[in-house]
């Protein structure tokens, strides 16, 4: 077995089909393994708590004014609601260390932007539908940006390269612009 990738509604098991120890029916064996793991899981994961400082300053919250216009909620209130909610990492994927975080206040739920941004700065905290993500690197992206964290989400040289793992609880802590700069 080379990789096990949990996602929102499925799990991928990547295996080497030429491996000498491969069971006779590898697909069935993988399915049985996944079912066992699911059965063995506690019904409510404890999870670590990851504190994520976020500056919701308009300088970083590129789309917060637009969301305010569409939702009728003031930018300050968007930041307050976002940081008050209970969030949990549902999966890590797409890019190294990029989390899909559930638990967004339904009042803030909006579809992805019709036209994705060609460049979203690293550390951008962005929302779409009922989820939050944080961009580990500067990439194109279609989610609405409401703030930025000074944390380095993924560092291949760190012992634990990714800050987030599936199941983690996430607290977004509002910080001022000066604190953001200090933490950076």
């Amino acid at each position: 077995m080379r990789d096990i990738v949990p996602a929102l509604t499925g799990v991928a098991v990547h295996f080497d089909p030429e491996h000498s120890a491969l069971p006779a029916a590898p697909l069935e064996a993988a399915e049985a393994l996944i079912r066992q793991s699911i059965d063995a899981m506690p019904s409510r994961l404890a999870g670590r708590v990851i504190e994520v400082p976020v500056c919701y300053d308009p300088e970083f919250a590129l789309d917060i004014v637009e969301i305010a216009g569409r939702s009728g909620i003031e930018p300050e209130e968007i930041a307050a609601r976002h940081s008050r909610s209970e969030h949990r990492v549902l999966m890590v994927g797409f890019a190294p260390g990029l989390p899909y975080i559930g638990g967004l206040d339904p009042a803030l739920a909006l579809p992805r932007r019709a036209t994705p941004r060609t460049r979203v700065p690293a550390g951008s905290v962005a929302i779409a539908n009922l989820q939050t993500t944080v961009y580990p690197f500067e990439t194109p992206g279609g989610w609405s940006v409401i703030g930025r964290t000074p944390l380095v989400l993924f560092d291949p040289a760190r012992e634990a390269p990714s800050i987030f793992a599936p199941g983690d609880r996430v607290h977004f802590m509002p910080v001022s612009r000066s604190d953001y700069v200090r933490l950076k």
């Binding site: 080379r2 990789d3 096990i4 990738v5 949990p6 996602a7 929102l8 509604t9 499925g10 799990v11 991928a12 990547h14 089909p17 030429e18 999966m91 890590v92 994927g93 797409f94 890019a95 190294p96 260390g97 990029l98 899909y100 580990p136 690197f137 990439t139 993924f154 291949p156 040289a157 390269p161 990714s162 793992a165 599936p166």
Partner: protein, 336 residues
């Protein structure tokens, strides 16, 4: 011991057998686009299969070697030279200190692997020396090589070169003063005449596409778009429509997965693909055909032939058997 990039070429990166075991953190295995070429190039210089090599693309680099080295070039056929002489491909080539090789245009295929006996002495990152361009890590500073870059080789690379070249020298040849051998490894992944036939299995969301799109996917001739890269090959052809079934929650993807975004133009995921994605999957390209796909240049045409999982595994076994035979023949030349 080092090599120096005199001219970088279009896209020259350090790649190896890939960075496995981290897809749950969003880190894709990556590695050489043509794993067959990597394995052959490494075997030709006596390295293990997944050792780091240089992957060169379409327009190759010019590389200077400070001391004696043993190198091999496999995969795409490049118009290549050592000094004034032609650079032999698919075989071990002994280059004396001070040699400079020039890889110009790819004449057939797009990507070649240049392996050096003893490997490239970069520090592995997360278990691999592969360059992962999208997140800018691995290889040399996470980027494509530039003019003036110096890559360290094994400290005893010159000694390894002499020792290994001695082993294969019973059938040595010296054409135009270039020291190589009279045999060569087969090229197993080079494109034949177009359109190239690739095998593909219907994907998870295949049945949600309308009948015309399902038919068109396997009937139409597709063209590799210019905006194709190590992450994915975009294909131009008929627009594929999926009227039923709305948004898809992000789910894992594989090398060879064919996604169809809202614009209806399919993307075949290549080695540096996203680990998960929210686009519907119309097909999965058979693993055995991915290295051949990797050898296609923008503008190349291809067709998909529908196959089953069992047939895809047979194709894989057949490719592995051809590779194993080639590797055995190389070992034999090394007297092993």
């Amino acid at each position: 011991m080092s090599l120096r990039i005199a001219k970088p070429g279009l896209l020259t990166t350090v790649q190896d057998g890939g960075r496995w075991g981290l897809q749950h953190l969003g880190v894709v295995p990556g590695g050489a686009m043509d794993r067959v070429a990597l394995a052959l190039a490494n075997a030709l210089v006596g390295n293990r299969a997944g050792e780091a090599a240089l992957e060169v693309t379409l327009l190759g680099p010019q590389i200077a070697f400070e001391e004696d080295v043993l190198v091999a070039l496999s995969g795409a056929e490049f118009d290549a030279s050592v000094g004034d002489a032609e650079m032999p491909r698919d075989r071990p080539v002994f280059l004396p200190a001070g040699s400079e090789i020039a890889l110009r245009r790819a004449v057939r295929g797009t990507r070649a692997c240049l392996a050096v006996a003893g490997g490239i002495a970069l520090q592995p990152l997360l278990g691999s020396r592969s360059t992962y361009l999208p997140a800018r890590f691995g290889g040399l500073e996470g980027r494509a090589l530039r003019a003036g870059d110096v890559l360290a080789l094994a400290p005893d690379a010159a000694h390894i070169a002499a020792e290994r070249y001695e082993k294969v020298s019973k059938r040595a040849s010296s054409r135009g003063g270039v020291r190589s051998v009279r045999w060569s490894a087969p090229a197993l992944t080079l494109p034949e005449h177009e359109p190239i036939a690739l095998h593909a299995m219907p994907g998870r969301h295949h049945d949600e596409f309308d009948a015309d799109s399902r038919r068109a996917f396997f009937d139409a001739q597709w063209r590799v778009s210019p905006d194709s890269n190590r992450m994915g090959f975009r294909l131009a052809g008929p627009v594929l429509a999926r009227p039923r079934g709305g948004e898809i929650l992000s789910e894992p993807t594989c090398l060879g997965t064919v996604q169809v975004p809202a614009n209806g133009a399919p993307i075949v995921l290549m080695v540096d693909h996203q680990t998960t994605g929210g686009y519907p999957k119309i097909a999965e390209v058979a693993g055995a055909d991915v290295p051949r796909l990797a050898q296609l240049a923008p503008g190349a045409t291809l067709r998909f032939a529908q196959c089953t999982l069992a047939e895809a595994l047979e194709l894989r076994a057949a490719l592995n058997a051809r590779m194993a035979a080639a590797l055995r023949a190389i070992s034999w030349e090394y007297g092993e």
